[in-house]
């Protein structure tokens, strides 16, 4: 496997404002976005009415909300149907947070809202006017990884990496809650995050290690 994926699970290399180009040429994501743009231009009349959300076809009146995302104040127009997850990924281009099941079962979309871990797919952005949100992109300080990000690398806490942002955000909260005092406790309190590659031993070791260091 490669750890230099442009859609980096550890969030490194993406700015918190999300509008910076990746360092090396075109990313897979920007090519896909360009291709998607061309497709929707071709189908212009029908596509014009499509909202950014993949959730539904019809338009609805938008609402203006303010969020503080990874320390930056953002003001944006949201369709009431947009989940926090869709706003993060599609409006703010913070694609570190992953959409797995989109029904609150897998934990890949875990972020912190006002310091608490939640599944961002199951809550509407319009319900969080004024909230502070921390995503995987907000953990590192410049080039210095968050201790739990470093511990995931150290302990091989992932294989494909898709669940990793959610695991790490959940792990950060798990440690802050005081629920990381033993491997058994970590297993129980991390059970809302599923890993299809079954990297669980590494995940538990990483959370335990980072808990011991903080």
């Amino acid at each position: 496997m490669t750890k230099s994926n442009h859609d980096a699970p550890l969030g490194k290399g993406r700015s918190s404002s999300g509008d910076e180009e990746p360092q090396r040429g075109l990313s897979r994501r920007s090519i896909l976005q360009m291709a998607g743009g061309a497709a929707s231009l071709a189908a212009a009349p029908a596509a014009a009415a499509q909202p950014a959300s993949s959730d539904g076809p019809a338009t609805a009146p938008t609402t203006r909300i303010r969020l503080v995302v990874n320390g930056s104040a953002r003001e944006l127009e949201v369709d009431p149907r947009q989940s926090v997850l869709d706003v993060l990924r599609e409006t703010l281009d913070l694609t570190g947070t992953k959409k797995g099941c989109n029904q609150g079962a897998c934990g890949a979309c875990t972020v912190l809202i006002n310091g608490r871990r939640v599944t961002s797919c199951l809550t509407l952005a319009v319900m969080h006017d004024g909230a502070e949100i921390t995503t995987i992109e907000g953990l590192a300080r410049g080039d210095e990884l968050h201790p739990l990000q470093a511990a995931f690398i150290e302990h091989d806490g992932f294989q494909c990496g898709f669940c990793t942002p959610g695991q790490i955000m959940s792990g950060v909260a798990c440690i802050a809650e005081g629920h990381a005092t033993s491997p058994e406790q970590i297993q129980f309190w991390m059970s809302g995050n599923i890993c299809r590659c079954a990297a669980y031993p590494g995940i538990v070791a990483a959370v335990a290690d980072a808990a011991g260091r903080t």
């Binding site: 338009t59 629920h179 059970s191 809302g192 995050n193």
Partner: protein
């Protein structure tokens, strides 16, 4: 997801007014948003009640009083919950995941919809979703379904854990609506499916759950929740049991027993409670009483195992509560 209008209210009066005019309350949203995305739920109007001051958790004498908007995680972690009603804390922690417990409100937990897969499958018959269309579960995959309180129209279990504990402990709920306030046992919130499985609860239009009161009792401290499921955590119950015991010497003075995962609503086991009264603490008395839980059970093609598992789960929970596990 179909379009809907959204409003956030700051007062209970505004909330009730909106709901009386047809809006749906939204609190944590963990059930509702999921079902709206699948178009199983199609509200045209949502009213966000999260700004209402109903998150308090407090002791009132020996009673534990819980605001309807208190989150599962906050109720479970609260010192007064642990001190007065450890069964409530234990049953909450055994439900959902840490993320969902941070989101889901207590009122919403009680009103969560069923987890029957056919309910969520728009191309399957489901009397709960589409009254009169039939029940796909009765002759379908029904290993997770109910053996108590079922009808020819619906066999889905009520999925809540904390509701089982609340029913065991005789908790009451306070609701307010367009016609004022009323208080009734949590047990009476849940309807049996009968021939109207789409009607799940006894709230009247516009009524808002305000508060849940768990009465103190001599059995409250000697109480346990046991949840048997397909994996060790973050899974719905196959069978669960909430039990509370008041012991005197080596015998049972009073018992409270309710079960989950087997009923179309959280199921209080009064015959089992009665049979335990005055009996010595021990497996023989527990097993004899727990056998009475099978009265009226009606297993389906795939869930006969629950007939065996139900009394065993009760016995084990009694042993845990009685300190003999």
């Amino acid at each position: 997801m179909l379009p809907f209008s959204f409003e956030k209210v700051r007062t209970e009066q505004d909330a009730i007014r909106a709901a009386a005019a047809g809006a749906r309350y939204i609190a944590g949203g963990t059930t509702l948003i999921d079902l709206m995305r699948d178009e199983v739920e199609r509200p045209e109007r949502l009213v966000d009640i999260n700004a209402l001051p109903m998150t308090d958790i407090r002791a009132d004498g020996a009673d534990l009083v819980i605001g309807a908007l208190a989150r599962m995680s906050d109720v479970a972690a609260h010192p007064e919950t642990k001190r007065l009603q450890p069964l409530i804390a234990e049953s909450l922690i055994e439900g959902a995941s840490p993320q969902l417990r941070n989101m889901a409100s207590m009122g919403g937990n009680l009103l969560q919809r069923v987890r029957c897969p056919y309910f969520r499958m728009l191309d399957a018959a489901c009397n709960k979703r589409d009254p009169g269309s039939g029940c796909s579960a009765i002759d379908g995959l029904n290993a997770g379904h109910a053996i108590l309180g079922t009808s020819d129209h619906c066999v889905a279990t009520h999925p809540s854990d904390v509701a089982v504990a609340l029913v065991a402990l005789g908790a009451a709920m306070r609701v307010r609506g367009p016609n004022g306030e009323r208080t009734f046992p949590v047990e009476e919130l849940f309807r049996l499916p009968g021939d109207t499985p789409h009607l799940e609860h006894t709230l009247r239009p516009g009524e808002l759950i305000v508060e849940i009161r768990v009465p103190g009792g001599p059995y409250a401290r000697q109480a346990r929740y046991l949840k048997v499921r397909d994996r060790a955590s973050y899974e719905f119950a196959l069978v669960s049991a909430a039990v509370a015991l008041e012991l005197e010497g080596g015998s049972i003075r009073q018992a409270r027993v309710a079960v989950g995962g087997v009923g179309t609503r959280p199921w209080r086991m009064r015959a089992v409670e009665e049979a335990l009264r005055g009996k010595p603490v021990g497996r023989d008395a527990f097993a004899e009483a727990a056998h009475l839980a099978l009265e009226g059970t009606r297993p389906l093609s795939h869930n006969h195992y629950k007939v065996e598992l139900l009394p065993r789960t009760i016995v084990r929970a009694l042993e845990m509560a009685g300190g003999t596990a």
